[in-house]
């Protein structure tokens, strides 16, 4: 546990984690405390922030703070689903490619290259053109972002695994009869675990950004409230050009904070572990 106490001595890490956990708490606990429904019409549209509606009212007469709290929850869920899928795929395929080599490696590398090139926007465009709007929920959007964003990370995991495979201790493991699966799970994964955590953080924030982008373009979320959907509505009703800032600034601010906090966490993990383990 000394690693944790060490990490907690790095100001960047602490600051990043604190901001991120605050946002997570807002999304999880916020709606339980601020008990206003995000879909009810609560007053005249475009009422500016006031004590009764701290972030004002949006184009459809709904409470913006309630929207924001549910939106954070939705966006975090999209991030978790997409990052989970992308991390699972990239870790699995990257390590398998490195450890098995040969044809397996070649095939996985070509597939990953294709997935690096095909952006999720294009896949979403096709889906959006056909799926009924009601079908585009958190799971679907998260899934599409997830399966289109693993390519680059798979290459990262592969090259880290390859450099670890050169180590003597891998040869020792082979001489101890360790299977390739055991080498992946017991030798490689523990060593690259800081990198895994860092990549999860980066995948998480880029998924949240991607959802916002997809939804603003009109091919993303339609069903569940996310930061993207709030901004989509704001854009659809030309809030920005009317100077109605309270539907635009809060969700974008949260996005930026999520990015900055996770970026801080990721780089402090990387800086802390990379020199230590030499191989990483």
């Amino acid at each position: 546990m000394s690693i944790l106490t060490d990490l907690f001595r790095i100001p960047k890490f602490v600051a990043g984690l604190a901001i991120f956990l605050t946002i997570v708490a807002l999304g999880l606990v916020g709606p339980l405390i601020y008990r206003v429904s995000p879909t009810d019409i609560v007053g005249p549209r475009y009422t500016p922030p006031s004590p009764s509606h701290p972030l004002g009212i949006d184009a459809l007469g709904r409470d913006v703070l309630a929207q924001l709290l549910y939106g954070i929850r939705g966006s975090l869920l999209v991030g978790a689903v997409a990052a989970g899928i992308a991390l699972g795929l990239s870790l699995f395929l990257g390590t398998i490619a490195a450890v098995f080599g040969g044809l397996v490696d070649k095939v996985i590398m070509v597939i990953s290259e294709v997935f690096i090139i095909i952006p999720s926007l294009l896949l979403m465009m096709v889906l959006a053109a056909y799926l009924s709007p009601g079908a585009r929920n958190i799971w679907l959007v998260g899934f599409v972002i997830g399966i289109t964003s693993w390519g680059g990370w798979a290459r990262g995991f592969r090259s880290r695994t390859m450099s670890i495979l050169q180590s003597e201790f891998i040869k020792m493991a082979i001489l101890s009869g360790a299977s390739r699966v055991s080498i992946i799970l017991r030798d490689i994964v523990p060593i690259i675990s800081p990198y895994i955590l860092a990549s999860f953080a980066m995948l998480f924030t880029s998924a949240i950004t991607a959802e916002v982008g997809l939804t603003i373009v009109g091919v993303g979320m339609t069903k569940d409230i996310t930061l993207g959907l709030i901004l989509y509505i704001a854009q659809l009703y030309a809030n920005i050009t009317q100077g109605i800032w309270w539907t635009v600034v809060p969700p974008t601010l949260v996005m930026i904070l999520i990015y900055l906090s996770l970026y801080l966490v990721a780089i402090s993990l990387d800086e802390y572990f990379s020199p230590k383990l030499g191989t990483a």
């Binding site: 180590s167 201790f169 040869k171 020792m172 101890s176 009869g177 360790a178 017991r186 060593i191 383990l277």
Partner: protein, 267 residues
């Protein structure tokens, strides 16, 4: 004495360079055999192909050509599937040069030792395993309670090398390939490590192939010495034959470079 390992025309050629290929002949058609119970040394300067030979015998890298036969079985052609490989490594195992990089930094010494049970066909319960591991550590002069829960970076280089040899005591293979096991540890600890190899042979009857660049060391411990130079074995004989009557120019140079002190600090 019967032959347990036979190497014939073994060669390894590395291709380097991504676009413009260049070939390095690391091992050049080497042939020799190892007899049961002997300590045979492979001596040569840096880059002469010793490690490459060892790794091929340990079945860690594939030879470019040639045959390695252990107990009559061609290890690159006759061993198929996991159980054959486990049988082979149960009988032929190794000790490496670098006590630092031979351990996964995230594993405890216990994990390192327990992993060798993969090679065992017999099903052992947890208590038996623990007992065997502890016995093996005691064999090499370590106190099990002091090392089992430590991670490698909490131990000194000499202790780690002892743990590696303890692993051999646990596996009890017929043949051990020891690739410069003493070259990276403190000079004052070398003798202790060398004694462990003698102990291995006396108590378990292990055959040992000892790889070193140090002719003095080879002379001190071996029954037989092979001299390797630029991928080829250029000379072979008992230590006395080699020292008293070197046939090859290169061997003579190696002998000249032995510090005169050597013999005295070994005894």
């Amino acid at each position: 004495m019967s032959t347990i390992l036979e190497v014939k025309n073994l060669a390894k050629i590395y291709e380097i360079g991504y676009i413009r290929k260049r070939q390095i002949v690391a091992v050049d058609k080497v042939s020799f055999s190892v007899k049961k119970g002997e300590i045979i040394s492979l001596v040569g300067e840096s880059g002469s192909g010793k490690t490459t030979t060892a790794r091929m015998i340990l079945r860690l890298i594939k030879p470019t050509s040639g045959v390695i036969k252990f107990m009559g079985r061609d290890i690159w052609r006759d061993l198929r599937g996991g159980s054959d490989l486990r049988w082979y490594w149960r009988n032929v195992n190794g000790v490496f040069q670098d006590p630092f990089s031979s351990f996964n930094p995230t594993h405890r010494i216990r994990d390192f030792m327990y992993r060798a049970f993969n090679l065992f066909n017999e099903k052992l319960d947890r208590d038996t395993k623990e007992r065997l591991v502890r016995e093996a550590l005691q064999m090499v002069g370590l106190i099990p309670d002091e090392v089992l829960n430590r991670r490698p970076f909490e131990l000194s280089g000499g202790m780690r090398q002892r743990v590696m040899i303890a692993r051999i005591f646990l596996i009890r293979p017929m043949l051990v390939i020891a690739d410069e096991p003493t070259s990276m540890i403190d000079a004052t600890l070398r003798l202790g490590i060398l004694r462990l190899f003698s102990k291995l042979r006396e108590e378990i009857g292990t055959t040992i192939m000892f790889i070193t660049h140090d002719m003095g060391l080879a002379y001190y411990i071996s029954d037989r010495i092979m001299v390797m130079y630029r991928g080829k074995i250029i000379e072979e004989g008992t230590p006395d034959e080699i020292v008293n009557n070197p046939k090859h120019e290169y061997t003579r140079n190696l002998l000249d470079s032995i510090p005169k002190l050597y013999t005295s600090w070994f005894k």
